[in-house]
């Protein structure tokens, strides 16, 4: 873990800026939060391909779907709580069931927008998006992974949900890191327990593992940034090898990473 701290939303802005030049088919939408989500970075360079819809998230998803149906790769951004909760039906019908090339990249995921209060804390968004057909769900563990996810979203056709955050994360990966959908990454080896985490909780879990070591507990830490598709094989392997699994996420356990892991373990190799 490096001392460098970068917020995933800044990585998103940087990725859009870089990729926008190479890919004229990228369009970006926002709902009056372009400054906060960092989609503003794209707007500054490519104003003719940027659409602010105002405070109208449902309309944003509909317009994004229409653009995607006409050959564009549509990135749509706002806060995670509004990007998923207010728009669930629009995403379900026009994006997920329609298999359209819309990438919902939502910032301010989780509870680390604390000061704004619960109205702005996205704690159910992963559950909502995970339940949708054809939707891929990713929660990056750092800024580098965020950029790789945006690149992946550009390469693979279809609906994506990428959840970024406002706060700065420690940088975990170097520039050579390759993100692969459906692959979990063992960040630290251990044999007594596996901590499976996503987002900011990956670096927090690494810190916790260090503390546990002092108490003589050897904890494995896995970055499960690809929540759907999920690395079932790795989950089963961890269950078999460490006998215990703990999940950590900025989200309710119901329908989130915790549920996703429990489903696999219950089906394949029940352990506590």
């Amino acid at each position: 873990m490096s001392d460098k701290m970068i917020s995933p939303r800044d990585a998103y802005g940087a990725a859009l800026k870089r990729l926008g030049a190479e890919h004229p088919d990228i369009v970006v939408l926002d709902a009056d939060l372009a400054e906060s989500t960092r989609s503003l970075k794209f707007k500054e360079l490519f104003p003719e391909r940027f659409f602010d819809v105002g405070i109208a998230e449902q309309n944003m998803i509909g317009i994004a779907a229409g653009l995607a149906a006409s050959g564009k790769v549509a990135f749509a951004s706002t806060f995670a709580v509004f990007a998923t909760g207010r728009t669930y039906d629009q995403i379900r019908q026009l994006v997920a069931r329609s298999k359209l090339n819309v990438k919902i990249v939502a910032s301010h995921g989780g509870i680390t927008v604390g000061e704004d209060g619960p109205s702005h804390q996205a704690t159910e968004d992963i559950a909502l998006m995970r339940s949708l057909p054809n939707m891929r769900v990713f929660v990056p563990g750092d800024a580098v992974e965020t950029e790789r996810m945006v690149e992946t979203a550009l390469k693979i056709d279809g609906p994506f949900y990428i959840r970024t955050s406002r706060v700065k994360f420690p940088v975990l990966f170097d520039e050579n890191y390759r993100f692969e959908p459906g692959r979990g990454i063992v960040m630290r080896e251990g044999k007594d327990i596996t901590i499976i985490a996503c987002g900011l909780m990956v670096s927090e879990s690494l810190k916790a593992a260090e503390e546990l070591k002092k108490e003589g507990i050897s904890a494995r830490v896995v970055n499960m940034s690809s929540i759907k598709p999920l690395d079932r094989e790795l989950v089963v392997k961890c269950a078999q090898e460490t006998g215990k699994i703990l999940t950590v996420e900025e989200h309710t356990i119901i329908g989130g990473l915790g549920s996703a892991i429990a489903e696999v373990v219950a089906e394949e190799y029940p352990v506590p």
């Binding site: 369009v27 003719e48 391909r49 659409f51 819809v53 105002g54 109208a56 449902q58 309309n59 998803i61 509909g62 317009i63 994004a64 779907a65 229409g66 653009l67 995607a68 149906a69 006409s70 050959g71 564009k72 549509a74 039906d89 629009q90 379900r92 019908q93 026009l94 069931r97 329609s98 298999k99 359209l100």
Partner: protein, 282 residues
């Protein structure tokens, strides 16, 4: 099917369009009766509109549903799927025999449309209020790519209760979508009763004007009037709203103006009576 846009109709063209509309209405009755459920009222009220669009106005090619310069039609009032499917079959996007598969398991003719570009179905609709947003997106893509295609979105009047329609209306005007025409099938009825009793819409034309649209009111069953409205010269930077006054259930006497037939399919006897009536009309 690449047609030249003409504002006036010859007698022969008018006769042919009327004949096509009659054939589409027959298909609607037959497929709904076969399915045993579905929405005849709002399908029949929109039949003349779709007939004029697909058989006189739009540039499209049933042999190449993905043709990138095609004009697009989006059925926002997705429950009127039978009129869309019948029209697409009438055009030759697929064989009419498929219409008997409406609402059956495994059929691409879902109770409400699912985007299916093999068969000319542009958008997944049925959850009301979403089609205009989708249409704005398609129109914006056309503008970015400097394409000449035009986007048509058909809305129900009851559907205008949905707030998202007005979000989309605002954004179409804001982004100067003069390549977008929305048509409101103003049949005056929604499931719970007359629109003005359930949730008053009037003054409707004024509302659209206030949202920055050019508004044309028309009798939605008067084919030459529909052609005239749809061929009006573009007003630069302004989306076009056609308020089409229609009769729910149009063409079948016992369905006309009846809320009951919003979402109830005709029985065998009703089907025979409806088809006999449609055959008799001029």
């Amino acid at each position: 099917m690449v047609k030249k846009l003409s504002a006036s109709l010859t007698d022969e063209e008018l006769m042919r369009l009327k004949e096509t509309a009659r054939s589409i209405r027959r298909s609607i009755i037959e497929m709904l009766s076969e399915a045993g459920s579905g929405h005849p009222g709002g399908s029949l009220s929109a039949t003349d509109i779709l007939t004029v669009l697909y058989f006189h106005i739009m540039r499209h090619n049933p042999k190449n549903p993905r043709w990138e310069n095609r004009d697009r039609f989006i059925l926002s009032k997705g429950h009127a799927a039978p009129v869309l499917y019948s029209t697409l079959a009438e055009c030759g996007y697929f064989q009419k025999s498929y219409l008997a598969e409406l609402r059956k398991l495994g059929s691409f003719l879902k109770g409400h449309p699912l985007r299916d570009m093999d068969h000319g179905i542009e958008a997944t609709t049925g959850s009301l209020g979403q089609g205009l947003s989708f249409g704005v997106g398609v129109a914006l893509a056309g503008k970015i790519d400097r394409k000449k295609y035009h986007v048509y979105v058909l809305l129900g009047d009851g559907e205008l209760d949905e707030g998202q329609v007005w979000e989309a209306a605002m954004s179409a005007a804001h982004y100067k979508c003069d390549n977008l025409t929305a048509i409101v099938d103003r049949n005056g009825l929604q499931i719970d009763g007359p629109t003005e009793e359930v949730m008053a819409l009037e003054p409707l034309a004024m509302k659209w004007k206030a949202f920055g649209w050019r508004v044309t009111e028309v009798d939605g069953h008067d084919i030459p009037a529909l052609v005239a409205a749809l061929t009006k010269r573009k007003k630069k930077d302004t989306p076009h709203l056609i308020l089409a006054h229609t009769i729910k259930g149009k063409g079948v006497s016992f369905m006309e103006g009846k809320v009951h037939f919003h979402g109830v399919a005709p029985t065998r006897e009703e089907r025979e009576q409806a088809l006999a009536e449609l055959d008799k009309k001029d």
